[in-house]
Amino acid sequence: MSNKSPKPDLASLPIKAEARALNFFYGQYQALKNINLPIHDRRVTALIGPSGCGKSTFLRCFNRMHDLYRGNRYEGEIRFHPDDINLLGADIDPIEVRMRLSMVFQKPNPFPKSIYENVAYGLRVRGENKRSVLDAKVEEALTNAALWNEVKDRLHEQANNLSGGQQQRMCIARALASDPELLLFDEPTSALDPIATASIEDLIHQLKDKVTILIVTHNMQQAARVSDFTAYMYLGDLIEFGWTDDVFFSPKHKQTEDYITGRFG
C-alpha cells in the first residue's frame, strides 16, 4: 500500500465557480445535460471528451458567449465566487461577466495593432489611459505570460510579426492584463508546434498560483500534464470528474477508461 499522503478531500477545497444543474440548448438541441461541476480556486481543471461532447459549449457558458446567437438557451446556474452570483442570471450583464473572465482561443487572434496596444486593449476599454499605469500593466502581463524578455524591445511592432507561439502568449498576456479571476482556454495549443506548446503548458503551471484556469483540450496527454482536475464529458453528460492523477491512472468509469486509452470508437 502506498504511504503517500492522501489528496485533500475535494469538499475541503475552495471553489471559484460551480455549475449547478446546468442545461444548455442550441435551439431544440440539448448540448449540455444537467452538469454539476466545481471549478476549484487557483487550480487547473481540464475538460476532455470526443468532439461534440459539449466541452467547448460548457466553457462558453462562463463568459456568456452563447448570448451572441438567438435561440440559445441556458437552464440552471453557474455560481461564481467569492460574491456567489449566478453568471447566467438574467440580472447579470454579460459585459460585466466578461470583465472578470478572459478567454484564449484555439488560434492566436492578435488585433491589427502593436504588441503594446494588444495587451493594453482591455484596460483602455475600461477607460484606463494613464501611461504609467498602462506601461506597468503591459510589462506585468507580458512577464506573467513569459513573453516580456522576447518582446520588450519591440513593443510597438505589429503583433502579427510575432511567431504563432509568441502570438498565443501575447493573447494570454492580453487576457491577463485585465486581472481575470478565471482564465478560459479553448484548445490553446492545437495550432502550435510542440516547442510553443511546451512553453504554453509551462505558463499554465506558473499561472495557476494566480488565477483559476479551465481548459478544453483534445490532447489528453496535455490534460494529464497541466491539470489538477479532469472532467470527462460525453454527448452533453459529465461522466467523470476527479483528480487528474486518478482519472488518468485509475478512472472510475469504463467510458472514461475507454476514451483515455484510445478504445473509444
Partner: protein, 235 residues
C-alpha cells in the same frame, strides 16, 4: 478490458507483449520443474539443461522490458494500459529471478545427490513443496492471462503456506547441522535449495500482486492477506 483500441496496431503490440509474458512464465515454470527433477533423480543432464536454458530466460526479460519501453515511448499508454505495461515490466523481473533460483537448484543438485547426505525425508518434503510452488507459478501466469483476481489472491495465500512448510524443513536442517557438523557443507547446500524454493513461491506471490495492480490499480505489495482481500473486494 475486453474491447479493442481504435488503433489496431496498438492492440497487436499489447497482445504480443502479453503473450511474451505468458511464454516467459511457461519457460520459467519448465526450468523450475527440470531443476527439481534433476534434484530428485540426480540426473546431471537435466541440471545442465537448466543452466543452458537460463540464458534464454534472461534474454526474454531484456526483450520484454525493451518492448515495454518502446510501447510507452510510442503509445503513451494511460490508465489500465499504462498499468499493464508497468506491471509487465515488474513481472518479468520476478520471472527472471525465478529462473535464477531454478538454475541455483540445478547447480546444487549434483553435489547434494552425490554426497549421500540428502535423506529420503528431505527429498520427499522438498519435492512436495516444490510441486506446490510450481503450481503457484503456473497459476500466477494463468491469473495474468485471464486477469483473474481471485486466482491471484489464491496464489498469494498459497505462497504464505509454502513459507510455513519451508520453515519446518529449514528447522530440521538446522538441527542436523548441529548434530552432524561434518556434513555442514552439503547441509548448507540443502538449506540453499529449500530457501530457493521459498523465494520462488515469493516471486509467484509478487506476480499475483503485480496482476492486482494491473487490474485494480491498487498497489498491494507489503500488505497482509487480509488487507489485500479487503482492498481488492472494495473496488
Amino acid at each position: 478490458m475486453s474491447n479493442e483500441h481504435i488503433s489496431s496496431q496498438f492492440n497487436i503490440e499489447l497482445a504480443a507483449l502479453r503473450a511474451r509474458v505468458v511464454e516467459m512464465g511457461a519457460m520459467v515454470s519448465d526450468q523450475f520443474r527440470l531443476a527439481v527433477d534433476a534434484l530428485a533423480s540426480g540426473r546431471a543432464e537435466l541440471a545442465d539443461q537448466v543452466v543452458q536454458n537460463d540464458k534464454r530466460v534472461n534474454d526474454l526479460e531484456v526483450d520484454i522490458d525493451d518492448d515495454c519501453a518502446h510501447l510507452i515511448a510510442k503509445r503513451q499508454p494511460a490508465a489500465g494500459d499504462l498499468r499493464m505495461v508497468l506491471g509487465i515490466s515488474k513481472m518479468v523481473t520476478d520471472l527472471e529471478r525465478t529462473g535464477d533460483k531454478a538454475r541455483k537448484i540445478a547447480r546444487l543438485s549434483g553435489a547434494i545427490r552425490s554426497s549421500g547426505v540428502a535423506d529420503s525425508d528431505w527429498l520427499s518434503s522438498t519435492r512436495r513443496i516444490a510441486d506446490v510452488t510450481r503450481k503457484l507459478i503456473d497459476e500466477a501466469v494463468q491469473a495474468f492471462a485471464a486477469s483473474d483476481i481471485e486466482l491471484a489472491i489464491a496464489v498469494i495465500r498459497g505462497s504464505r503456506g509454502v513459507g510455513r512448510q519451508v520453515n519446518a524443513v529449514s528447522a530440521g536442517l538446522v538441527k542436523r547441522i548441529g548434530d552432524t557438523p561434518s556434513q555442514v557443507a552439503v547441509l548448507l547446500d540443502m538449506m540453499a535449495v529449500t530457501k530457493a524454493i521459498d523465494r520462488v513461491a515469493d516471486h509467484a506471490s509478487n506476480l499475483a500482486e503485480h496482476l492486482i495492480y494491473i487490474v485494480k490499480g491498487t498497489d498491494v505489495r507489503h500488505a497482509t492477506l487480509d488487507q489485500i482481500e479487503r482492498e481488492t473486494l472494495q473496488r
